[in-house]
């Protein structure tokens, strides 16, 4: 078990490294360096950057030196929690991002939890009552979930909300809670607003998980041990939950690692449509304004949190499933 967790952790370290290189590449991609763009940006708003200040910035970021030196200098700053200045906002990047990163993770985790909570019972029902109206309904919803890109789904729901309820259904907070301090009331407000984005984000994943669960369970239900258990007089509910579901759960659980990155990715676009205060809209703005430190930092932190989330889910999986725990590797 330790070997398994160790291997996952090592892979996670590599992943973080790959993400850092890619984020660095994103910072470097646009023509011109940071200081030149910074000066141009300042000049366009009427302020002047002194030669000394420019020189100091150049040294701080190692501009003009080979890429790997610049990368190491940037990493050095990042490890100390200094992510540079956002050009557009003229404030430290950390300050600009603020709560948004956490809210992104909250929304993504809510979607993940919802995926599980919905997919498990529906999948089991679909398999046990194969070809029943409920199964067909689940299949139909599943196909919709797979075929409709989540940002379009968000758009359509917003439209219906606007036409039928005459209300703006997006956002994560009520208007009066928008800028309030964190408090019990604000958390409650957030909870009330979470289901909608979580559902939109989780639908595609849910659809997929229902299919997987249904297929796995159908395979298991035909096996002799189920017949044996039934002939021994176990109640149907207990029988199904106790044996085949546990076996069918495994492939189901192992997909969780890939679900989180997928949901986080999706949250970026959906947030834009729904106007959620996550990092999504900020990232888009930063990219369009070529505010590269902000953009690079967002990509880096988002990747980091996803990797941590995936690692945690991997460890949970080991804890749940003895076959992995005892596997010789």
């Amino acid at each position: 078990m330790l070997a398994y967790v160790g291997r996952r952790a090592l892979l996670a370290v590599f992943t973080v490294w790959a993400i850092s290189v890619l984020s660095f590449a994103i910072i470097q991609l646009p023509p011109g360096d940071y200081v030149t763009s910074y000066i141009a940006q300042m000049a366009s708003t009427g302020s002047v950057v002194s030669e000394e200040e420019a020189q100091q910035l150049r040294i701080q970021y190692g501009l003009g030196q080979p890429y790997y030196v610049q990368y190491l200098k940037w990493m050095n700053l990042v490890v100390r929690g200094e992510f540079g200045m956002s050009m557009e906002w003229r404030r430290p990047v950390t300050e600009v991002i603020g709560d948004r990163l956490w809210l992104t993770m909250v929304v993504s985790l809510a979607a993940l939890v919802l995926t599980w909570v919905l997919a498990l019972p529906i999948g089991i029902y679909s398999a046990v009552r194969q070809y029943s109206p409920g199964d067909y309904a689940a299949t139909f919803v599943g196909f919709i979930g797979l075929a409709v890109p989540n940002f379009l789904l968000a758009l359509v729901l917003l439209y219906f909300g606007f036409v039928f309820l005459n209300a703006h259904v997006g956002g994560l907070f009520s208007p009066e809670m928008q800028d309030a301090e964190w408090s019990g009331a604000r958390v409650w407000d957030l909870m009330k607003h979470l289901p909608m984005p979580a559902l939109i984000l989780g639908l595609a994943g849910t659809a997929q998980q229902i299919r997987i669960m249904r297929a796995n369970l159908l395979d298991e239900l035909r096996k002799p041990y189920v017949v044996t258990a039934r002939s021994k007089g176990l109640t149907e509910l207990r029988l199904i939950l106790k044996y085949p579901v546990r076996v069918a759960l495994n492939p189901f659980a192992s997909t969780i690692g890939y679900t989180l990155p997928y949901i986080v990715s999706g949250s970026i676009i959906v947030s834009l449509v729904l106007g959620l205060p996550t990092v999504g809209p900020l990232l888009l703005k930063a990219l369009i304004a070529q505010d590269m430190f902000l953009a690079g930092t967002i990509v880096l932190l988002l990747g980091l949190m996803t990797v941590i989330g995936t690692l945690i889910s991997d460890i949970l999986l080991v804890w749940i499933d003895p076959r992995i725990r005892l596997e010789e590797t």
Binding site: L22, P30, P149, L152, P261, L287, L302, T310
Partner: protein, 383 residues
């Protein structure tokens, strides 16, 4: 298979080959696949839809009736128009002319149909000039109205956008770009996936480990922010064509991991098969073993996996363009068209701007079902 057998067999003739079992024995692999594919009804319907989509790709300019770039302030944000098919009892499709006016209260531009004005819809009408299939210069379009009519007496089946451009015609052109970009992207993914997955599965060992870890790492990164970063870095002054290819490359980087996984799996399964071992024993070169003996036997699996990868490509392009990071106007794609439907206010006033979502959803579903059917058919010996 029983359906395939003739209903009666004359007794005096020797047992004909058409008996179901025997037909199966002599059928080629591709024939077996076709038989199995035919049973998957949704996949059959989907293949017709997919073919239809690609016919639109070929004949977009023929199906469009207005120049997709011609804007006219006089007909900004017109709602879809009702087409009347019968004039009395005669089949003579026509539409009504309209009058544009400002609502005195909201200052919104409203359009009122004018029932006294009948604008006949002509088949094979003359319109703007183009080259059919890129070769034959012509001015004929599937439908259209008589020439020399002004902006108030023309057709706009699906309404117009903010700049007064005809949505139907733009949708036709958008289909062309969105579907070819998906096809090109998936082809590139396929090359990457087959080469890397093939290397991984064929050599095994350290090569396999490195490639597999790379795939795992790529799959555990939230990719959309990364691709957004790449797409945003494309120089603003690039031409439509350059952006088109750059976006194709970016979205192809998305899809290759799954294809590589499939290819590797097949390679691993096949490496120890008798015919591969014997090919190696008689001295075939490695390239020959791979391309002459192994690839044909899992070709069908690759085709199925490719079809299943296409929807993701289409959605990626649409999403990137929707955000304004993918194709940019004046290029037209489904995502570019949907960009106009980005905020609720616009959509609430002119819901028809959401219509380009319909082909996206239909295409994604059709490719999914088609891929499902192909995947089942790819292994005709199973079950």
């Amino acid at each position: 298979m029983a359906v395939l057998a003739p209903p009666t067999t004359p007794a005096h003739e020797p047992a004909p080959l058409a008996l179901p079992e025997q037909r199966i024995f002599v059928a080629s692999q591709w024939q077996l696949m076709w038989w199995r594919f035919r049973k998957h009804r949704l996949a059959m319907v989907s293949s017709v839809i997919v073919i239809g989509f690609y016919l639109v790709v070929l004949g977009a300019d023929f199906l469009a009736y207005a120049d997709p770039d011609r804007s006219e302030a006089q007909r900004s944000l017109m709602p879809p128009q009702r087409v009347y098919f019968f004039d009395g009892w005669r089949f003579a499709p026509y539409v009504h002319g309209f009058k544009g006016a400002r609502d005195p209260n909201t200052f919104k531009r409203v359009y009122v149909a004018d029932p006294t004005q009948k604008v006949p819809v002509r088949f094979f009408a003359e319109g703007f000039e183009y080259r059919f299939l890129g070769l034959i210069p012509t001015t004929r379009h599937l439908i259209g109205v008589d020439r020399g009519r002004d902006a108030s007496t023309t057709i706009f089946l699906l309404g117009t956008d903010l700049q007064g451009r005809d949505l139907w015609s733009r949708l036709m052109y958008g289909t062309r770009i969105s579907l070819t970009i998906g096809l090109l992207g998936v082809t590139m993914s396929l090359v990457l996936g087959v080469v890397l997955g093939g290397l991984s599965g064929f050599y095994g060992g350290i090569t396999d480990t490195i490639i597999q870890r790379t795939i795992e790492i790529l799959r555990s990164i939230p990719t959309i922010p990364l691709w957004m970063g790449l797409a945003a870095a494309l120089p603003r002054e690039w031409t439509i064509l350059q952006v088109y290819f750059a976006i194709t490359i970016i979205i192809s980087l998305l899809g290759w991991t799954e294809l590589a996984r499939v290819v590797r799996g097949r390679f691993l399964a096949m490496r120890e098969e008798d015919f591969v071992v014997s090919a190696r024993l008689v001295g075939c070169s490695q390239l020959r073993t791979i391309f002459v003996h192994m690839v044909p036997s899992f070709m069908s699996h690759i085709i199925a996996a490719t079809t299943l990868a296409l929807p993701a490509m289409i959605i990626s392009e649409t999403a990137l363009s929707f955000l304004g990071l993918g194709l940019r106007p004046p290029a037209i794609s489904w995502g570019v068209l949907l960009q106009q439907a980005q905020n609720v206010q616009t959509v609430a006033i002119s819901p028809w701007l959401m219509l380009p979502a319909v082909p996206v959803i239909i295409a994604v579903m059709a490719f999914n079902f088609l891929g499902d059917g192909l995947r089942d058919a790819a292994d005709p010996y199973g079950r």
